[in-house]
Point group: D2
Chain length 332, copies 4
């Protein structure tokens, strides 16, 4: 069986294992250890602008803690109608934001544009009867594996600024997006206020980072992280994972590998592709019979509605498996 179900259950990368073991040595609790203490500087170096970096165990928590810096309980967060925070986080934003509202915006390939957002929020009356938007959340790469270019991000951050809205980026697959773009973290992040930087799908075990480009917000997030039960007492094991991923660009190398595998599969899909393949996810038009045929050949993947399938590659996808899947689809 060759699995293309998701990158979210891939094994932990050997370099991350090494770092985890080495973290046994440190012994200060919570985030008081030497590894956790490095994160601000590591991310500041990576993004080329001052920021704070905090570990948490899940992307859901990372997104929600970041959003709490920019949306009050009586406000709203504009996101795509198929955004993970809306569709797949079990209502976590409602919990973390104390009842704030997700304001759902359509958009091609699960991407937002200033025009689309304006069309959603301009009709909102400026009175207390209607929930006002406080923030925007984009996903890089999007739920359909599409990326935002720096030009698109500049337009979004300009729009957010003009409207007085915060701008958050869900970067569960930020590495894959950056790898597709120019490999530069700062271009892939643009001028967002906060980023949930994903490492787990990309070779980590249990550590994502909340990156705050306004470091004065770090205190708020630290209190909220504790309050949400996300301040692990052996936090050094989370910091170690993140540092290992950032070290020598492992995050980018892993993502490039996964992206290349996806591109390889894509080359066999032709017109079947529902979205251009820019990261490590493929959405492919396939009939029930075709899906059955692929499964008979040993490929595992999720159905995507009645007439399509989703394939996801990961840092550990074997080249030959990707090539085989590409050929198999081409041969249908």
């Amino acid at each position: 069986m060759t699995k293309f179900l998701s990158d979210n259950a891939a094994p932990v990368h050997p370099k991350v294992w090494e770092a985890l073991r080495a973290a046994d040595e440190a012994d200060d609790p919570y985030d008081g250890d030497a590894l956790s203490a490095q994160l601000d500087e590591r991310f500041t170096d990576l993004f080329g602008r001052e920021c704070a970096g905090l570990w948490v165990a899940t992307g859901t928590a990372a997104n929600c803690l970041a959003l709490a810096t920019m949306c009050q309980p009586h406000g709203g967060v504009v996101c795509h109608e198929e955004a993970h925070i809306e569709v797949d986080e079990g209502g976590a934003p409602g919990f973390y934001l104390h009842g704030a509202k997700l304001m759902l915006c359509p958009g091609e390939s699960a991407k937002l544009t200033p025009e689309g957002i304006a069309a959603l929020i301009d009709p909102i009356r400026d009175d207390v009867h209607q929930v006002q938007p406080h923030a925007i959340a984009v996903t890089q790469a999007s739920e359909y594996g599409r990326t935002y270019s720096s030009t698109e991000l500049a337009a979004l951050s300009g729009f957010a600024k003009t409207r007085g809205l915060g701008l958050h980026m869900d970067g569960a697959r930020f590495a894959n997006a950056a790898a597709f773009l120019n490999g530069k973290a700062h271009d892939a992040a643009g001028m967002v206020d906060t980023l949930a930087f994903g490492f787990i799908k990309n070779g980590g075990m249990s550590a994502e980072a909340v990156v705050l480009f306004d470091p004065t917000q770090a205190d708020l997030v630290k209190y909220r992280r504790k309050r949400a039960g996300h301040l692990q007492c052996k936090g050094r094991y989370l910091a170690a994972q993140i540092i290992a991923m950032l070290e020598n660009g492992l995050w980018l190398a892993n993502a490039r590998h996964a992206n290349a595998a996806a591109a390889d599969i894509a080359s066999g899909c032709g017109e079947r592709l529902m979205h251009p393949v820019e990261a490590n996810e493929l959405f492919v038009r396939l009939s029930a019979e075709e899906r059955e045929a692929l499964r008979t050949q040993g490929f595992e993947f999720y159905d995507w509605g009645a007439d399509a399938a989703r394939f996801v590659t990961a840092w550990n996808t074997r080249d030959e498996d990707a090539a085989a899947l590409g050929r198999a689809i081409a041969s249908l």
Copy 2:
């Protein structure tokens, strides 16, 4: 330097490391893997009554998710005035229980008694102006390292039942309590409704268990766990830790070791002890000069107010270090 600061930053036990590495093999996401699937049965076997077992990353989350099964947002949870959930969880119960109230009860050695609870809640008028208690939370071992005997637990669960209250046990150091008692999990847990069973302080890395003795509550906790951002996609690494700890009684062996080290230190403390030493924590009357003297000898520990110190042993405390500390205190 010999550290007696806390057990919460101790390294991960070799058996747990082994289990973690082995978990690379599994590859189903969230709690759909074969390891997570074993937890219900493992805990049912251990406690000898049917229960559900769910992993989470912290004791704070474990406590709060368990309490959410028994306390509505408009209710209250009776706990000791020095309970961890009141003093050291950054307001997490207020978050998870949506504003419910902790109702603070005094009690010797941070333990609760039916009489003490009755004295607290009996004066509450049965009207909507006053928050009504919905649950009781005890800590086994208590914040001062004391244990509840099965007799005491029976009295508490009887009382809770009579009053229609849920009964939760914060078991951050449940293993140490069980080791002091008769080594039987079911006696150390009594007839509580829910237990936050701690493994992290006892050799784990990042996994505690919520044990629900009414397994029909598991669904609620699963939805709330996801909503709190605590459903890790590589959850198998948490399940692996718990299983490793339960395997061949490692949880008990580790706790016995820590308790023995504490007892060894206690033997040098005599009248200085503020509380009988039953688990792995010691609260010792020591003047500022005496504490300084111990630190000069290389012992690390926390002050406990102006005239005392707290020492904590762990699964990896070396016998000779404990003996040395005991002698050092005796020689003051």
Copy 3:
């Protein structure tokens, strides 16, 4: 100027004033007075099935307190995408339900159908990643002034029961709906679990009722009402309003008057009507110039988008004003 802006600012009905003054006599605080004590029986008589009736000061509070009996914080409430609870209550359901989600359903004239709801909720995966529906909320009369017949309500309550969902009715204009139907409260309410029965728009000052057809839920609502700051100490003045409205069918008489006025206006609107006029609201296609012309004649009303207007009649709308408006529209 003749106002058709809304019924929500109409003066208080003389009979209600009388009852308010008479309530000076009573003097037990909160809901301990003789008037508040009558509500359960009054509503039980009216609906012909046992229920509890509680006063609150606003429809928003009434809706939210009722929904809290059927939707947990991690669940969702299905409502029309233009429902008042979604569009015009400032996020109150998110607050009262502690972050639960409104699940938006399309439907003609702002009405829901079992088929429409099924189309919305059937694709929701039965897993913790997706918020599960716990309840349905309908509005009688709907946001476009349409009513649900008993047949439609029976279909909805049957559907809700089958799916294990609670069923709430926002009855801000319940009286107008009942007046349009057969004048029987129990037919207009069908077998809903809870009803927010509006009196304020219909001649009251500051009292709506939460009607609970499962009276065992009354305790929950009473605690939540207090907790929301809605337990007024001089609650007798709210009870008095409700009783005055129920006495001798004043609620129905007032609604019939408003409906008749609306029907009169409707008779001049012909093809301009966007929705059949069943209650006391009219949505009328009118160009900007036509609206200007009406305003010049002294009529006040709200624009409804770029090409329409909304007119609302009330218990105190004068027959001649309604007739004049109908003629004015007909003459455009």
Copy 4:
């Protein structure tokens, strides 16, 4: 029967009735009417410093909405351990503040002092494990009918400022306190940030005011008021009550009457008084037999524990009834 149970169920003052009836005329909904529009200026005039004034229906809502301007969900509010917000508001602060914590401080006659607060909060570790105070709430007059002098208030506001804490005043009986002090609202309020100014106990029906001495906070409170279901559509009837009470000092005259009645009773109590009588509440040591004797004579009041009783006077307490009660107690 002569009632001294509470001032919270007294009838509505004739001047307030007049104003209510007159408000029928106005007809703009919510707080868009001419009466509501006056409140900012009315309170600014009264207090001699710029402020915003908003009506709400209960003191509970007023307190909680005010506190929401100064305490974040992860923070705490220091209040007296017998404060109304802690003891008698059904957990409303936990609801409105989204789980924030009330931090309970002892203090004579239910009053707080900078020293008492410092003793409570200084031991709080400045780390994320412990909830940090964000605000202080005092009650004027206190739960035992005591007042804060301007000197005491200056000390409290200085302390709050130094510690970076907000300062709120629960003024359910603010008028009685002001009447006892020098009759000047600004001296009775000191430099608090927010005041819940009570009118209901003092002759109103259903209107209290949230007074915000930083008017830029008004927007937040308006959104939160709507979200809490406290924006009444016929808000003019609330504004009318407040204006009637402020007009020609009715608020002060009513309070002076109640205070005088209390003083008259107090003159018969001698050593029995548990607290000096400064406002309109008396806490009097009376045995069960003595209380029975008073009740036999027709006096109604609440027991206050096993050995005391509480008597409350109101704007409508008859002089002869107060005198009779004073004599009756003196004769025991």
